[in-house]
Symmetry: C3
Subunit: 127 residues, 3 copies
């Protein structure tokens, strides 16, 4: 389970770095709080962070369900793929939001594998 | 606890479906990323998803606190009510945002029962 | 662990109160859903809530990692500091968004201590 805990921490650190970069863009482009629009580059990083927030809310419980009911090491491995997918998503979104789908899918596939796998594992244990 | 795990998975699947429907509305109404406004129907689905995200962040820990410190089967039952409430919220918000309060309350009541119940359970166990 | 559960519940209650106050500002200033802008005071409270949501998604898993792999009572204490920091953040943001950094830092420091500490604890246990 320690490997799952460390992957959890890494995903949270990534989310924090993305939030920090939103703050940097805010300063760079003079987007004054509470505004969340006004400059394209700021808005892109803002959406990368928000989308990663949306995903991590699904990812973390799915990671732990899979770890508990299927296998913790496979969970940790799929979790690392999710984190890599999110970095690809960020990089491609900042260059061109229209090209964000590959990075999205790279993070989405391991996340769905964790979620569906974890649910099946819990179901099998219950029956 | 397996029932709680499955309800967790169902709530996450619902959140994912809502996110997917935001993406569909984005394409349907030509709202190009990173924009998150520009068409009323898109904005409604966007807010349904965001509000469900806000709620699930409270709901999931509350569900597990209640399961651990009160009763896992009652937790799972209240969790199902929360998920139903969110579907009602989505349906009414898309028709008319002014009529979203009943669906909101249907999801909110079991969520608060889980949160307050779970906290009281933990408090009683500590004393 | 009960102390950690209660701090978890308190942080969730705080997030709920912030969400409730966003709703009150919505009514007060006539910002009709699905709009999330249109009045400065509403937008400030909206951003306070969103930022607290972003933080709690990191805070709660970090709190439990620290409790599991380091010490539950220290975790609960750092968690209370996080909650206090968020109240200071809210108060200063509503007065002047430009003065939000002290409250932000007050919540951010214990959160990062929980995250980094929890990861180190898990790493040491694995080795």
């Amino acid at each position: 389970m320690e490997a799952v805990a460390i992957v959890t921490g890494l995903a949270l650190l990534q989310l924090f770095v993305f939030a920090f970069q939103v703050g940097k863009m805010r300063v760079k482009h003079g987007v004054k709080a509470p505004a969340v629009s006004g400059h394209e580059e700021f808005e892109r990083m803002f959406r990368v962070h928000m989308n990663t927030l949306e995903q991590i809310v699904i990812f973390l419980p799915a990671l732990w369900l899979f770890a508990l009911y299927v296998n913790p090491l496979i969970a940790a491995g799929l979790g690392l793929l999710f984190i890599i997918g999110r970095f690809v998503y960020r990089a491609s979104y900042l260059v061109d939001p229209g090209k964000r789908s590959m990075g999205f899918t790279l993070g989405w596939l391991p996340m769905m594998a964790l979620l569906i796998g974890g649910m099946i594992g819990a179901l099998l244990k219950m029956l």
